[in-house]
């Protein structure tokens, strides 16, 4: 059909597409708008859409109510820490499976995937008790470890599918030219592996940032990341919609931008390479 474009048809698809897109995105727009209202304006009926006195006070109050920066820092440390640690463990494994596969490689991969299918609630009790006994409840270290374990199968899988695409012949060519193993890795393999590693990092930071089972069950205040901090707004306290919106905007903005950049990798990562 690409040879013949019907302008009328294209116009209809454009209008419908934008209408649906804006509708689906609207809760996010509404959250952002509400974050700039006063608490009184936030609950106004009829609602005020654009014409109200814009204010930044909520963003300051969020910090006063509870140490917002600490929770944001927890989110950063936990998501980056768990992903970094995961990459450290997963990289050699994925590398070995991609470049010197054995007859067990497929089974190992499938088994790793199957651990991801374990519903977290099935091991809530023992993990909670172990954390209590080892003083890991409400600690960043504990959360880094748990989220690393949760995402390790995805990290191994994503890296594996990326590494698998690096042609093995290129190694042989480099070797023929007299490259040592060290040079081979630095000059040949690393540049080809970096994009895959970066996408894996990106997607897993997003997943860890939004993880809301373990973060809600194993943290209280000290190590509570933004997911748990936002959940504290579930017990009403007078007027709080504008503050909730400001806190929410700050919590989702960075990850939304990262998500937009990683949309291609998202499909691959979340389907374990089944859809590319």
């Amino acid at each position: 059909m690409s040879s013949r474009v019907f302008p009328k048809r294209k116009l209809i698809f454009t209008v419908v597409g934008w209408l649906i897109g804006i509708t689906l995105f609207f809760p996010i727009i509404w959250t952002i708008l509400t974050s700039f209202k006063t608490e009184g304006t936030a609950i106004a009926m009829p609602p005020k859409f654009l014409f109200f006195d814009w204010t930044l006070e909520n963003y300051f109050e969020v910090q006063d109510r509870s140490n917002y920066l600490q929770h944001a820092m927890n989110s950063v440390v936990i998501s980056l820490g768990s992903t970094g640690l995961g990459l450290l463990v997963a990289m050699p494994a994925a590398w070995a499976m991609a470049f010197s596969p054995t007859k067990h490689t497929k089974n190992v991969l499938m088994w790793m995937l199957s651990t991801k299918m374990l519903p977290p609630v099935g091991v809530l009790v023992p993990i909670y008790l172990l954390f209590r006994d080892f003083d890991l409840l409400d600690t960043r270290l504990g959360m880094v470890v748990v989220l690393m374990l949760m995402n390790l199968p995805i990290i191994v899988w994503m890296l594996y599918t990326y590494f698998k695409e690096i042609p093995g012949e290129i190694l042989e060519a480099a070797r023929m030219d007299g490259a040592t193993i060290g040079k081979e890795i630095i000059y040949v393999l690393a540049p080809m592996a970096v994009p895959g590693i970066a996408s894996t990092l990106l997607l897993n930071v997003i997943l860890a940032w939004n993880e809301s089972f373990w973060t809600l069950n194993l943290t209280v205040t000290d190590a509570a990341p933004l997911t748990a901090f936002i959940a504290s707004y579930s017990s009403p306290e007078g007027l709080f919609w504008a503050k909730l919106s400001a806190a929410s905007t700050l919590a989702i903005a960075p990850i939304l931008v990262m998500g937009w950049f990683s949309q291609k990798q998202l499909v691959r990562g979340l389907t374990f390479g089944a859809v590319k």
Partner: protein
Amino acid sequence: MATLHTRSLARVMISPAVLILLVWMIIPLAMTLYFSLLRYNLLMPGLEEFTGLANYEFFLTDPAFVDSLVNTLLLVGGVLVVTVIGGTLLALLLDQPSWGRGIVRLLVIAPFFVMPTVSALVWKNMFMHSVNGLFTWIAHSLGFEPIDWLAEFPLFSITMIVAWGWLPFATLIILTALQSLDQSQKEAAELDGAGPISVFAYITLPHLTRALTVVVLIETIFLLSVFAEILVTTNGGPGTESTNISYLIYAQALLQFDVGAASAGGIVAILLANIVAIFLIRMIGRNLG
């Protein structure tokens, strides 16, 4: 050349990941299994004793279990229906040429990146609130009686909140699959006089089968474990109307401190998830070749 040397090196490189996952899987699982056979309540330390299958009997005959099982199925099923049908339609739309398609795509996938606690609280308060919510305002404007969504239709409301987050996932995967469809096949069918509906039914849909299956299976795995959305909106209530299996086990464990019953519930949840997991793993394994 896989020499003996590289093969043993490969084993050394793989073992940390395997060992860590093995420990992570076996120790908690063994503990859950062990606790599920004990009478064990955190409020009564030191009184643990072996009770055989009593916890399973207690958990499975609890009326809340049947309610939560039904709710789990309704929640998973509801979200699947909305996201698979909606996602297919949306993907077909986004596959058509239009102005600003790239931006619309960004708008559509955005909800996937919103953390569950944020989306649940935003929907609960700013949209579904019975006095000041936007839905209430819309109902008033159109002359309808406003609805207190989370009190009157708690499970339905949670289903919609969760579906909003997963619709982008389904759309994105189906769209990716659509874009790998061979256009010449479609054009040939159209030349032969096939209308858009038969093209969809006989060419597009069969091509999408695989992507749709992946969407259904992966969403099911995640949706069986929906938790945060329930915790921050209804706490499973009123009564058990919006309690799913995950939430029920959480309540047994961390609200009633009944480690034994919660562990029995955990084993039940694992068995349920495994039914789905077997299909998913087989399918991905076949793809691995």
